[in-house]
């Protein structure tokens, strides 16, 4: 979230789209009802189903699954053609006035530079036109035909209300009503907030759906404002923290990135990640990249990391390609992956196409599962009849299952969706011999290190030299680990204002990432988390809920990254002169000498407004990007592409380019896509209020309130297929089938799309072959093995099925 849960109460308009907060994030959703009751907020829900979020909305609009870019592109078109934008904000804080490279094109569904064979783009024309000074050229009057503003206007002129109706199935009048409500927040003192979740991320164009919403918010001047922003409602309790800590194939902690195999020169690696400013007088915060990186390497390899050996740069693995989870299972199926670890992760249910997963896991030499519960993945080799029809004797995978503690049995911090790191405390011992995850990781590591020390082996250097200064090496404590990622001084650090004084003594915890150095005198595991465990103590454990401004910014509750800032980009909540756009919601302001307020200012604290430092400090031009340059795989402007399994067999905008041209599809998976002829219904998966993924079927209460697998269909489809409520039905895709009870509902209505009636089938996914609830089918038996072109997040939300009475 750019903002945070409590801040939702400050919104004037709330859009829940690509999510269903009332059911999936119930206690956060209370801030929507708070905004409705006390801030007279208008609440809009756009969803294929009439969800419980929709049931309390002022306006609900149905939409065909997978078409959100068209809807939001239509909103952009409406805002631009009616002049309903926050003009001063757009001109000053977004890249609307910057000039784009003259080679840039968009024709027939493709941007310039497409390579058909490789399914990738040469992005060299997706750039600004720069002057001899290296700065992007600008036309503040927004008249230049190639300025971002005009290119954007032209791009979205195709997204008319009629086109929205034709692709999304949303009634035109309803769509226009929503546009009108959103447009009211172009006023500087009004805001919309967008709340989305996996209903946006789990599409082959998921990242671009989110970007389209971000563009709407930039045009309305809502980013950085209290009650505004683009708010991801993350799925799990610490998905945010694990992402921040970089536990992804190509990342390092704090959104630093691993080098590719062509980046073996350290200087070149740093230069590429240390951008030059693209406009004058910008903060350009990533210019600090070397400080963050060197401090990380010092944290991992201590004294072994020296300037002479480039801080052990050679010890970092170099990527030849991304090894995301889809790729991992693809390699498993090819026999190229031998070992697999699952720590609190149940991929047999969480990754698409169960048949492919079973095939992959069966080819492993070894599988290690670390979990508090008996997951399906750990038992993939067990025969459970039609729920898991395998032959254990033929599966040669060695499986080791290690019991871990759960939240209640450990101290530690989780990062919520609002970026708050909150400390929690142990309340009981774990069952029998279960151990904390950190002890399990330490146990494996120490044994492995011992083997390398005794036997030698291939390149043991990074392993045997890993810093391991924990009091009990087999059981590092949460406090020791938290202090490590916060960072400390390795030498006395001079006070930047008075170099004769020492600001931080050697060995002391750092106050924040502003103190990091690139000369090896600081160690810090994750720069973003720096400030969370300082000499003053554990900032994440703070429990003062005092809220002096009434805006919900409880600065002394827990720790919010970065720097305890509660609302990101909050410099944009003021006009260029440093005065809050909304005098009634004053977040920060320029007091004549410094930036101050009720949040931690997101700008260089002593940079006067006249200096022209822009609010989006992580960008080299300091501007919110309506044009994404080369950062996205499929284009700098979001474009509608159909799901890989589309019920309409075409893309009405450009029939030759139907689905995302830059999405990666493995050979075998192309053949596993189904067609609308055999599988005519648009299906989507989702979760229920009473269950959490595949965990709560192991708990008694949830298994009582939602004991049995079901699917939802509309009354019209039920009538067509002769299905009554309570019938058992078989739902099949080209990859397999599930059987479940049919719930026939008024909540799903057929939509008219491109001259065709499209029915949706709703598939909650909480059942499996382990647990206390009734046995059921893992819903991913049905879903296609293809991901978003940027994030590789699988397309769980849009695929094709057939349904019949079982």
């Amino acid at each position: 979230m750019t903002n945070h849960w409590v801040d939702i109460k400050n919104a004037n308009v709330i859009v829940v789209m690509g999510g269903n907060a009332a059911e999936a994030h119930p206690c956060g959703f209370k801030w929507v009802t708070e905004a409705k009751a006390h801030n007279h907020a208008k609440f809009i829900v756009v969803d294929p189903r009439f969800t419980r979020s929709a049931s309390v909305a002022d306006l609900y609009a149905p939409i065909r699954t997978g078409t959100d870019i068209t809807f939001l592109g239509g909103v952009i078109n409406y805002l631009l053609s009616h002049g309903k934008i926050q003009h001063e904000y757009v001109r000053s804080y977004t890249n609307a006035p910057l000039i784009v490279n003259e080679g840039f094109r968009f024709e027939d569904g493709l941007f310039s530079g497409y390579d058909d064979a490789k399914r990738t783009y040469d992005k060299s024309t997706w750039a600004y036109e720069t002057g001899p000074d290296g700065f992007a050229k600008i036309d503040e009057t927004l008249q230049h035909p190639r300025c971002v503003f005009n290119l954007m206007k032209q791009h979205y002129s195709r997204y008319t209300p009629e086109m929205v109706n034709n692709i999304c199935g949303t009634p035109k009048e309803l769509f226009l009503q929503i546009c009108e409500i959103l447009a009211t927040t172009a006023a500087p003192n009004r805001t919309t907030t967008f709340m989305y979740a996996l209903g946006w991320t789990q599409h082959t164009v998921g990242s671009q759906m989110i970007r389209t919403a971000a563009m709407v918010q930039l045009l309305l001047g809502n980013v950085g404002m209290p009650g505004g922003g683009v708010n991801a409602l993350r799925g799990h309790s610490n998905i945010q923290g694990l992402t921040d800590l970089g536990l992804l194939s190509n990342l390092l902690p704090g959104y630093l990135t691993l080098p590719g195999e062509k980046e073996t020169d350290y200087r070149a690696y740093l230069d590429k990640r240390t951008p030059k400013p693209l406009r004058p007088n910008q903060f350009n915060y990533w210019s600090n990249y070397p400080k963050f990186h060197v401090s990380l390497m010092k944290s991992w390899w201590g004294d072994k990391a020296t300037k002479e050996n480039n801080w052990c740069f050679d010890w970092l693995p170099k990527l030849d390609m991304e090894y995301d989870i889809l790729r991992q299972f693809e390699l498993m199926g090819q026999g190229k992956m031998h070992g697999y670890f699952c720590q609190g992760f149940n991929p047999l249910g969480a990754i698409p196409n169960k048949a492919k997963l079973i095939k992959g896991l069966s080819q492993l030499k070894y599988l290690v599962v670390i979990d508090p519960l008996a997951t399906e993945t750990s038992c993939f080799w067990e025969n459970h009849g039609e729920y898991n029809d395998v032959d254990p004797a033929s599966i040669q995978t060695e499986v080791i299952r290690l019991p871990s503690t759960c939240f209640a049995e450990e101290d530690g911090s989780l990062t919520n969706s609002g970026r708050w790191l909150q400390w929690h405390y142990k309340g009981a011992e774990p069952p029998a011999e279960a151990k904390p995850d950190a002890d399990i990781v330490a146990g494996i590591f120490l044994k492995l290190r011992e083997l390398y020390q005794k036997e030698g082996g291939t390149f043991p250097d990074p392993l045997v030299n890993l810093a391991w200064e924990y009091k009990t090496p087999a059981a590092p404590t949460p406090v020791e680990l938290a202090k490590e990622y916060n960072g400390k001084a390795l030498a006395d650090l001079a006070d930047p204002k008075d170099p004769t004084k020492v600001a931080v003594k050697k060995g002391q915890q750092l106050d924040g990432y502003g103190q990091l150095k690139d000369d090896g005198s600081t160690a810090c595991g994750c720069w973003l988390f720096s400030g969370s465990f300082t000499e003053k103590g554990n900032m994440m454990a703070r429990r003062d809920n005092y809220d002096p401004s009434g805006l919900g910014n409880t600065l002394n509750w827990a720790f919010s990254w970065p720097a305890n800032r509660r609302i990101l980009y909050n410099r944009a909540s003021c006009d260029p002169a440093g005065k809050p756009w909304d005098p009634n919601r004053r977040l920060i302001w320029w007091d004549g000498a410094t930036w101050t307020g009720v949040d931690v200012p997101d700008i260089k604290p002593d940079s006067p407004p006249g200096e022209g430092m822009n609010p989006f400090i992580m960008q080299p031009e300091g501007m919110g990007r309506l044009f994404a340059l080369d950062k996205m795989a499929e284009g700098p402007f979001p474009e509608h592409y159909e799901p890989f399994e589309t019920p309409i067999d075409t893309n009405p905008l450009h029939p030759k380019v139907v689905s995302n041209p830059a999405a990666r599809v493995f050979k075998d998976d192309w053949e596993m896509f189904g067609t609308s002829k055999e599988f005519p219904y648009a299906a989507t998966t989702y979760r229920l209020t009473e269950h959490f993924h595949f965990w709560t079927k192991h708990t008694r209460l949830s298994s009582i309130v939602q004991p049995e697998q079901f699917v939802e269909i509309g009354e019209e489809l039920a009538r067509e297929k002769g299905i009554k409520a309570g019938d058992r039905v078989k739902v099949s895709s080209h990859r397999g089938f599930i059987k479940a009870v049919a719930v026939v509902t008024k909540r799903i209505k057929p939509l008219q799309v491109n001259g065709k009636t499209v029915h949706h089938v709703g598939i909650p996914f909480h059942w499996g072959f382990k647990g206390l609830a009734k046995k059921g089918f893992l819903a991913n038996t049905l879903t296609p093995f293809v991901g978003d072109a940027n994030s590789q997040t699988p397309e769980f939300k849009s695929f094709l099925v057939n349904i019949e009475k079982a």
């Binding site: 206690c27 209370k30 993350r234 799990h236 309790s237 610490n238 923290g241 694990l242 536990l247 194939s249 902690p253 691993l258 970092l316 693995p317 170099k318 090894y323 989870i325 790729r327 390699l331 992956m337 031998h338 070992g339 697999y340 670890f341 720590q343 609190g344 992760f345 519960l373 995978t397 060695e398 080791i400 871990s404 939240f407 209640a408 989780l414 309340g427 009981a428 029998a432 011999e433 904390p436 494996i444 044994k447 011992e450 082996g457 392993l463 680990l481 938290a482 990622y485 595991g525 919900g552 209020t689 959490f692 192991h698 708990t699 008694r700 209460l701 309130v705 994030s791 590789q792 769980f796």
Partner: protein, 195 residues
């Protein structure tokens, strides 16, 4: 003291017991109310946050057992923390059932091993488990580690074993996991954020 005729006979039948309660200065009515003492009055409280969705509601976990030697605390009740600025004491149906997650009969209790082709689990010790996992890792790493690619560049990567990290484990767990996994050169490394 209010008693029915039937209770009167019961107390009388108790003889000395009944009358001695009265002699000790409190009535039988009070004594009976004591049987239904508020169940949280003697519990230990620990503050926590819900491990399910990313709202991270504040929790108060109640356990019995005073942590003296041989008195192991056991959590018997979990409720919303009213001081928490986000959830203000509320919990959803999942959160309200958290105590059933902590005490689920499907919690794993011991390290276990499933041999190739086997139909069941076998209990093993932690030492055996760590030794076996480390051996499997080392054998695979030693055999398949790529120090240099075809172009002769130093790449130091290990691509034949992968690691999926948790989504509800703490930042501290995430940090130490990242540190260890990258030190092995592993590139297949992902967490639930991917899906």
């Amino acid at each position: 003291m209010q008693v029915t005729r039937r209770q009167f006979f019961k107390i009388s039948a108790g003889g000395l017991g009944g009358s001695s309660i009265a002699l000790l200065g409190f009535s039988a009515g009070d004594a009976r109310a004591e049987v239904r003492e508020f169940k949280l009055a003697r519990s230990s409280e620990a503050r926590n946050t819900c491990p399910y969705c990313s709202v991270s509601c504040g929790l108060i976990m109640h356990s019995l057992g005073d942590r003296a030697k041989n008195a192991t605390p056991a959590i018997f009740h979990i409720e919303g923390d009213p001081d928490h600025p986000v959830n203000r004491g509320t919990l959803c149906p999942k959160g309200a059932g958290l105590v059933d997650f902590v005490n689920s009969p499907n919690r794993l209790r011991y390290p276990e091993y499933r041999a190739p082709g086997a139909k069941e689990w076998r209990r093993i010790s932690w030492d055996e488990a760590f030794a076996r996992v480390a051996r499997l890792m080392k054998d695979d790493r030693d055999k398949n580690f790529i120090a240099q690619n075809a172009a002769g560049a130093t790449v130091n990567r290990w691509t034949t074993t992968s690691f999926l990290a948790a989504s509800a484990s703490s930042n501290e767990t995430g940090w130490i996991t990242h540190k260890v996994i990258r030190s092995t050169g592993m590139l297949g490394f992902d967490n639930q954020a991917r899906v």
